[in-house]
Symmetry: C2
């Protein structure tokens, strides 16, 4: 068992002293100290076990021995830059390519999802010769300055922000809370038409579109699953304008969605992005990431005359680790497990919807699942404080879950891919108890029987929310307006 | 011994197929395949040994067993993000802080030098509330889009670049080739006054200065060592304008300069930057980096209301590796070795200057050494082709060196810190032979005896170079104008 160097309070004090105060911990009033982890379990300094429902980075399970061994072995041999030839680099590129449509054949290896998305923008700007980027509302694409500018999830946090005139925000294709909902006859076209309008308006101002960028499924944005066909239509509008389509798979790639290896493939075989970015799960925690694009885009980038060098990107250790991750996904059939367990988890959560008025919507693909909590099913009022309460109480029971989305009211499941049916049952059982308690304290009951009878969405479409909602202080149930003091915790 | 998976030609073919063509190899007409490395030696697929004079990333020596073991051990236990408390994070921050002046006390851990410099800009923008950045001519600060804009080394490569109106390029404080040279009575003040002029001109246009950023010693810019006192004076002008000073130590930190742990300390105790960025050597090849700043700047960043999260930054594995690197530097007295061997190497190269007319200037601190080749000592005409010839011929003799600077005529030494006196002797002996050959072929002799008698610089100051120089094709000595076809290779 791992031991501590400092007692927990000393760790907290040193962190306060030496780590940037903008870097937040989970559960700031009583953070968790983790000293070891294995599979889908993490252990604190007292060796107490936590069920991990959120670490999509530890994709094939925390500290997977095959990944650790591949990394250690290669570190002993060689870790250098890609100015030298090395078989790991080309073999890994070949293996990643084999998971993708043929035309996505050229790789750039970098160190983080942020580096990947920034490079994707550079590729798009150079290839198209245009400047403007269309992003989705509530999107998060990374922490470097170019990506803060295209991440409404981040820049909405700034009081005094200056909107970049070359960045356009399209409607998030959210059929539960967005402008066009499940009762709309064709939300895919309606949301894609918003992108078309943006393109047209940009042209009127003399602007030109370089790229449309979106996560294949929006993660921080609230586990949003765009209607099938949306990306195809968007791609038509954007390509017609001379731009490219970037699929950000940093959070959702590598088999997580169960039916496919990449989440963009959920849209159908007729959609192939021009650029795909990868990150978090790619190295099971090792800092690495990748951009894959077409030969045409890659040649366009080269034509600038500027070479691209990334000191650590594509080093033999990162590539060895990346290949070990692919091996484990295959050997342990983790994509299949994501489909099976994810479907089961979604089913269990759907049952919660029949029992609990707080549960407004359940949506998911594989082990990427969201449960959106609402204080009123008809108005879809976000139950932000209640979602935080669920997260805090789960933590007391040693289950790690988070809440996200623009209203921070969507419970996010994105566990290591070895998550089991029993894990799903345990998590949902605890959520069931907590929701029962919260609803009793609030005096909430199911508004009508329609939902419980059918177990699905007889929803009515509504206009904009009023922007106000009640919140608890995370400990009791004191109700007060506005949620300014709640902080976003993203994983 | 490591074996190959593919034969070399197959590796080259796969690389052509699957790796972005903007990512260049060393020696593109006959690249080197490296399969293992140890200390300051790298081995190709035939187990032939190369002396490595350039990999400043493999700081404590390639595949150092203590670093490998620390990484492997921590990977087995836990690798997760910094939203959980972990002792490695705070202990490592504490140890880094101990190497720095007291006021530099707050760390942000990220994944690459590029992420570090981008974050440094974000800190500066937010803290100052200003937008404009002053950078040095020929500077290179990273590959993300915000850093290309402040890297003349890169953006000068673009034919159709658009200069960002908020970026100002100051004179590189190069006393050999710059505007103010070694015969100037006070080059530190003269170069700093150029920064002052930039500040004043920016103010006249209503612009405000957020930061001045510079490598403590310019690396890609040509191993430039600014005159002592320069940064102090620059800091005065920049701080008076409300901006901060960023010292980029990505290439030159961690004891390389021998007398000090950080290269900015060469300027004297009275200079403390507001932000220091670290990278390459920090993890001996593991993708990691760090930004350290003052409490004031850190609080200013937090005041924006936007939190900062970096998925991989500061994970327990990276921190364990970072601490192992600090341990090895200390235990093996690598800073002391850098001073001793670096001084010896500089001395040997100074001797070359007495013998070889091609050697225009030798400059260095510790194991960061440059030898600038010129075709004419009086005019200081860059000997670009000759420098390439030296690099190619050294490669044939299995010595890895590179040439850099705006004219690519500066031989760059920045080897692993375990580089020995024997290594230095071997490299200089080979350079001696090669220079003798080249000079014989060109019919070059020492212009006069002044230099050889004194072994140092009785130089005359001259105006601008004419911008033309001769070059060989890297194989023979055919002479032709312009160097457009030569490519920059940076490490």
């Amino acid at each position: 068992m791992a031991t501590e160097l400092f007692d927990k309070q000393k760790t907290i004090d040193l962190r306060r002293k030496h780590i940037g105060p903008s870097c937040k911990v989970f559960f700031s009033h009583d953070p968790i100290k983790i000293v070891r982890a294995r599979g889908q379990y993490m252990y604190n300094e007292k060796d107490e076990k936590y069920l991990d429902c959120i670490n999509n980075v530890a994709h094939v399970g925390h500290s997977h021995p095959a990944v650790v061994s591949a990394g250690a072995k290669q570190m002993e041999l060689l870790n250098t830059n890609s100015r030298f030839l090395h078989d790991n680099l080309v073999q890994y590129a070949q293996r990643l390519q084999a998971t993708l449509p043929d035309k996505l054949s050229v790789c750039y290896f970098v160190n983080s999802g942020s580096e990947a998305n920034d490079l994707a923008l550079r590729l798009a700007w150079q290839y198209s010769g245009h400047k403007d980027i269309i992003t989705l509302d509530n999107a998060y694409h990374g922490h470097v300055s170019s990506l803060i500018e295209i991440s409404p999830y981040k820049f909405h946090q700034l009081a005094d922000r200056e909107q970049n005139p070359h960045v356009h925000t399209a409607l998030s294709p959210d059929v539960y809370r967005g402008k066009f909902r499940e009762d709309h006859p064709d939300p895919a076209t309606a949301y894609a038409d918003d992108v078309k309008d943006i393109v047209n308006k940009a042209h009127e101002k003399g602007h030109k579109i370089a790229a449309f960028i979106a996560e294949s499924l929006q993660s921080c944005g609230g586990q949003v699953i765009p209607p099938a066909g949306y990306f195809q239509k968007v791609a038509q509008h954007v390509r017609k304008a001379g731009g490219v389509v970037i699929a950000d798979e940093v959070q959702v790639g590598f088999g997580r969605v169960g039916t496919h290896f990449w989440a963009f493939q959920l849209q159908g075989d007729d959609f192939v992005p021009d650029i795909v970015t990868m990150g978090k799960p790619i190295g099971n925690g090792h800092p690495m990431s990748c951009v894959v694009t077409t030969r045409e885009v890659a040649e366009g980038f080269t034509a600038s005359g500027m070479e691209y060098f990334n000191t650590f990107g594509g080093n033999p250790v990162s590539c060895a680790i990346g290949m070990a991750v692919l091996d484990v996904i295959e050997q342990e059939n983790l994509q299949g497990n994501a489909l099976e367990v994810g479907t089961y988890l979604t089913h269990l959560l759907e049952e919660m919807k029949e029992k609990h008025p707080l549960v407004g919507d359940i949506r998911g693909r594989g082990l990427f699942v969201g449960a959106e909590l609402v204080r009123d099913r008809a108005k879809r009022t976000p139950a932000t404080a209640e979602a935080q309460e669920v997260i805090y109480r789960l933590k007391e029971q040693r289950i790690l879950l988070s809440a996200d989305g623009p209203h921070r009211n969507v419970l996010k499941f994105k566990p290591p891919m070895c998550f089991s049916r029993e894990d799903a049952e345990l998590a949902v059982e605890k959520i069931d108890q907590i929701l029962t308690d919260i609803e009793a304290a609030l005096g909430m009951t199911l508004p009508d029987t329609a939902v419980s009878e059918h177990g699905s969405s007889k929803r009515k479409a509504h206009g904009e929310e009023n922007g106000h909602h009640m919140y608890s202080n995370g400990k009791g149930h004191s109700l007060a307006p506005a949620a300014k003091s709640t902080k976003r915790i993203r994983t």
